[in-house]
Symmetry: C2
Subunit: 720 residues, 2 copies
């Protein structure tokens, strides 16, 4: 066996098992081709061109030499056990190949071959067999159906990406983890075109073993990488994904994520079929909120944010000060900052007065419009910038100089003046909106400014850096252990469900069947007035028709009196009915109707849902989702994040509801769902009455669905 | 006087009066400087460098020569009357300068000088004086406080934009009209950096005379321009702006507009202060909907859309077919297309089968994933493309080839194959998502493809071209003449307001005071049952307490009977009351509560507002706005565009409402508002009952506010 000492610290991390795969010291290429343009030829050619620091060992039974390297007739003939092996053989031969590699001491393999889970059940079975084989040998697998991985810091190219023919990645500190090889290559190409270095890249393909999360995690633990760009179509393994995000948080390395499939999954999750919430995108978004992740919508945004993040300045409690020579650009930025919730507080009045003295026609509020006047005396740019940082206190400064900032008569002096301010305040983020040729921009780049042509994009990256700063400053939520919940054998009825939930802090509308007027009065005093009273008898179906229901019973005397009235009425109109007593229930007055529930997501497990009743859910789809469990604070945040939240906070002359009680109820439900484990399929509590402040929140109806009942439900649906 | 014959057709258009300004044959520069870097020196220097086709005449009392040109001591000394004059003198001298130019036969002037309306009341007065002076001489003015204009097709540079120092605009067919000189220059810089030609540009500054609309209009009428990029902070003159958009529509030339100030104005327009709807951005947006205008949010988007528009392919009824070598890119595009409502219908089944035969592992639905297989046989790209257009029928095709499309072994053949398809279908829009160096992209550019690095941006421009196509295909709405409405002398009371509105097709809940049981029964039959009946007497205040109100009166016999009952009750309980008869009113059952109204916008005049009652307006701010007048079809579109629209269409088990009646009511209100003219300040009809289908829509309360009453209202508010 080989020793495990590698040059970097990755080996000791949580994701160290990927080191042989992504930082190998020796590489076998099985199915190596002498033709450098073929899939089996490219890795050899790339590694030769990239001057791979380890040994490249082509395996090809028909040739003794491949692209100038000695080739080996079989895996058994390999002169040393390879850290990584590239496998470029037909699908049918892959399992045997991996088995042979395992026997030879191979530690990992990259499977280019297609014809596995992406082609249906047979391929899925073959893929399973492949995984079992690899596991038996303790090997890690990338793919199958992957374009591979590279690590240009050591000249390793276990990839057939044709983009590498155009040129190798530039040196830099951005990693790429992508579920799509073609899109990963697209990102590589965009990064190169923009001068951004992406030395390490892994495309995870079918993910039979190594997941996207693990690839991200390994890069995050790698000292050569500061920022990870990730592309995901579906997060197949939530555990490794969240572990990677935890590692990223710990290392203060942001993950910039483009996750696609928003729309299609959104459709699936239509509210009319809550059971089909599979991998709901909103749950995914809610989950990301805890971590230092920026989710983007386009590759351009992905690159903008990753580029900015390489400066490693993440201002918590972000605020934006804009220095501009154009009032128009100032308005554009103000518009967008307001839309994106990036605060732009004004400069302090005394500083404004000073700047007015320096440049009489300037507008020194914020945006600080210094006018083109500063171009005549560039020390003014420094003065303005310094006052903005030291007096305005902005965490981020955006300076709009457009092409005026890159003309030869302006650029060196402007850059020097602003660099002075920047260097004096290394914790602030300085973004310059400039238009220039690459060589004109270079001095600003070298001085450490972030450069964005478009002021709109500048605001977006400033917002993202602030979000990262806040995320890094916030400790990750501790997922406290949830005590187990004992579920009944079969799906419980409404009463049993409500009892079970109430025992776990999800109270129902208080109600009790009582046998005497005195007990009824005492209970009513305990739960609070007014109360509803009903004759309790299985034999009396239409209770109100025989005078068996009393509403608005307001005090203890009336309860005692009512008790007798109900018995009398029953006696008179249903003399043969067997009476259980009288049901006393809290009468709901002035509450707001809500609903909450639990659905099981195939990826995220139990997911809590909350919304207001009526049109809010049916017409406006105004509901929120969160992965369980979560605490009261998170429950409160969720509740207040719905559009209809003002209705809970006293809009339209209503009393504000008991948010403490409602939040506790939702948080308890989320813990109940986790404690109940796999057998719990769904919970539907509808309506929930959120009562005025201090008066609690109550479930008025509850349905708990267990998994064993699923068949029954399906049969019922079929019968409909 | 000079003759008016110019080289182009602009002279005959609606905006011909700007031709001397933007296409001059002679230019005076008043305040010309010998220093080519000074504001008064740049226009001379630029025109020399740009080889202006006419005569440049510097005016400077201290020099006989400026930058090698003969200079004139005064305006009176000018050898010919200048078409355009650049005025670069202090504010205090501007009026006299323009007067002198007018006397010398000058036809237009560009006023660089600051110190006018932008500096307060005194400057405003000076600006007014300037305008009066120019009007007296029949001169058009650009500015004051403008960075000027240029027209590089003739080498005219009446501008001090420093960006022109870096380089002149490239040849091309895009015009720039901007209210901000600095932002206009920024756009010029971005366009140059991207290889886009913007030969004509006007910055309108304070707009004392020439408006942004006129600048757009002149460019639209100019045969050298196909597309106009416009930047607006506030549309000061709606008439010239809409006239320009009409001209643009007629000429099939799109206007791409970045209008800023969204947020601040949005705040002003908060629903709690509907009177303060000043220049509301939503009204502006609603107004644009009629025209061939694309409103963008950033300069990057502005350039993307303008660039694409230069291909002049505007597919109406747009649909998107995507050809891709990456499944991932396909998902990204599908997501965004769904979000942006760009249809992506699937390929017809037989064509799918054929493509499956050609490339077994392809996914031929749409996106059509042809896989990297096509790179081995590029004729397949042509086959796929052709089938997509001829069988799939897509109006727009997006082909994602990323950097694979620009590698030397692929590019020439791929370009040729796809060009064949393109040339066979010149009405289709072909967008390629490629990554390459400019020289690698060049052949695709020359072949007429639209090139976008990012597939996300590609979808956005494809959507925009479809919107333009639809707008060009649609005739502009004919603003029919609205008959005048005679308003009362003073603000009418509720009854009078309802009567007035009812006379113009905005019906109130039908009600009438009747003197006999027979008349009452006949009226009730006419308006429909059930009806409400009330004793009509000014002397009886609390009608229900004396049995003076009957609800749910269901048929004619009951009306007759009720009539007598009401008289009897009045006789008994209020024998001294003077009776007017009995009021019979339609009883509202099962309607949906809405509101509609009119507000006066300082820019757009009367604006109609519509929304649902209750939480929809108070909590969700779910309202729509439109400039008046509009027809029933537009009214219906507006009504159905609110989020709560499902409630009008039968959501939650309700009956669908009478949309025909509701739309007619709103359209009639919009006509009423225009017919009523300037004296009308606002109308508030709240609630409006939208009844079930076939049963109409009725105003239950109405308030008409006239302008003369404003003082009274203000006083009332102060007293509060």
């Amino acid at each position: 066996m080989q020793d495990d000492t590698h040059a970097n610290g990755t080996t000791n991390g949580r994701f160290a098992s990927l080191t042989p795969l992504l930082q190998p010291r020796s590489v076998a290429v099985v199915g190596a081709s002498a033709d450098a343009t073929r899939i089996g030829g490219r890795p050899v050619s790339y590694m030769l061109r990239g001057e791979f620091q380890g040994r490249v060992m082509p395996v090809n039974p028909k040739r003794s030499e491949i692209q100038g390297l000695p080739a080996y007739a079989s895996i058994d003939d390999l002169p040393e056990a390879p850290d990584a092996s590239v496998v470029a053989v037909p699908a049918a031969q892959v399992v045997d190949t991996v088995d042979a590699l395992g026997r030879r001491g191979g530690r990992s393999a990259i499977i280019f071959s297609s014809g596995f889970s992406e082609v249906g059940a047979q391929g899925e079975a073959l893929q399973q067999q492949l995984l079992v084989t690899a596991r038996r040998h303790g090997m890690r697998l990338l793919g199958p159906n992957t374009a591979g991985a590279f690590n240009s810091t050591i000249g390793f190219f276990g990839s057939f990406m044709s983009g590498l023919e155009r040129g190798f990645p530039l040196p830099g500190r951005i990693g790429i983890a992508s579920q799509s090889g073609a899109y990963g290559a697209h990102l590589l190409g965009l990064a190169r075109a923009r001068g951004l270095g992406t030395p390490i890249c892994a495309a995870t393909g079918n993910e039979c073993d190594v997941t996207l999360g693990e690839a991200i995690g390994w890069m995050v633990e790698n000292p050569d990488i500061d920022v990870v760009m990730a592309y995901a179509e579906a997060v197949r393994d939530v555990e490794s994904f969240t572990a990677a995000l935890e590692a990223a948080h710990a290392a203060r390395k942001p993950v910039i994520l483009q996750k696609v499939g928003r729309s299609a999954l959104g459709q699936k999750a239509a509210l009319s079929h809550t059971a089909a919430l599979a991998g709901d995108d909103r749950v995914f978004d809610a989950m990301l909120a805890d971590y230092a992740v920026i989710r983007v919508e386009s590759s351009a945004e992905l690159l903008d944010v990753a580029y900015t993040a390489t400066r490693r300045i993440y201002p918590a409690n972000n605020s934006l000060g804009m220095l501009t020579i154009s009032g128009g650009a100032g308005i554009i930025v103000s518009d967008l900052a307001e839309q994106l919730d990036v605060p732009m507080p004004p400069m302090p009045e005394p500083a404004q007065a000073d700047l007015k003295t320096a440049v009489p026609f300037c507008s020194p509020i914020n945006p600080v419009d210094c006018t083109a006047q500063v171009l005549n005396d560039l020390t003014l740019a420094g003065t303005f910038g310094e006052r903005m940082v030291s007096d305005g206190g902005y965490a981020s400064v955006l300076a709009f100089f457009s092409q005026a900032g890159t003309v030869p008569s302006v650029a060196p002096k402007l850059c020097a003046e602003l660099k002075k301010v920047k260097d004096a305040h290394p914790d602030r983020l300085f973004v310059m909106s400039l238009i220039g040729e690459p060589e004109q921009n270079q001095p600003y780049e070298e001085a450490g400014f972030v450069l964005m042509e478009d002021p709109t994009d500048a605001v977006k990256v400033i917002k993202a850096m602030g979000q990262l700063g806040d995320a890094f400053a916030r400790p990750l939520p501790q997922r406290e252990a949830v005590p187990p919940v004992t579920l009944p054998e079969a799906t419980p009825g409404e009463a049993e469900a409500k009892q079970l939930l109430a025992a776990h802090g999800i109270p129902a509308v208080p109600e009790k069947v009582l046998g005497s007027a005195g007990e009824a009065a005492a209970y009513a005093e305990q739960i609070g007035f007014p109360v509803v009273m009903k004759i309790a008898s299985a034999d009396i179906v239409h209770k109100s028709e025989i005078g068996g229901v009393l509403l608005n019973v307001a005090d203890a005397d009336s309860v005692r009196e009512g008790f007798q009235t109900l018995l009398d009425n029953a006696e008179r109109h249903a003399p043969e009915a067997k009476l259980d007593g009288v049901l006393v229930a809290r009468q709901i007055v002035g509450g707001v109707e809500c609903f909450m529930g639990i659905q099981r997501d195939p990826q995220f497990g139990p997911v809590a849902v909350f919304g207001l009743g009526g049109i809010f859910v049916e017409v406006l789809k105004d509901v929120v989702f969160q992965r369980c469990p979560f605490d009261r604070e998170e429950a409160r945040r969720l509740i207040l994040s719905i559009k209809g939240a003002p209705l809970l906070q006293g809009a339209r002359g209503r009393a504000p509801v008991d948010l403490d009680a409602l939040s506790a109820m939702l948080a308890n439900l989320s813990r109940f769902a986790v404690g109940a484990g796999e057998r719990l399929d769904s919970i539907d509590i509808n309506p929930v009455f959120a009562m005025p402040e201090g008066q609690g929140a109550f479930a008025a109806d509850a349905l708990i669905q267990l998994k064993t009942d699923q068949l029954k439900t399906d049969q019922l649906n079929e019968q409909k």
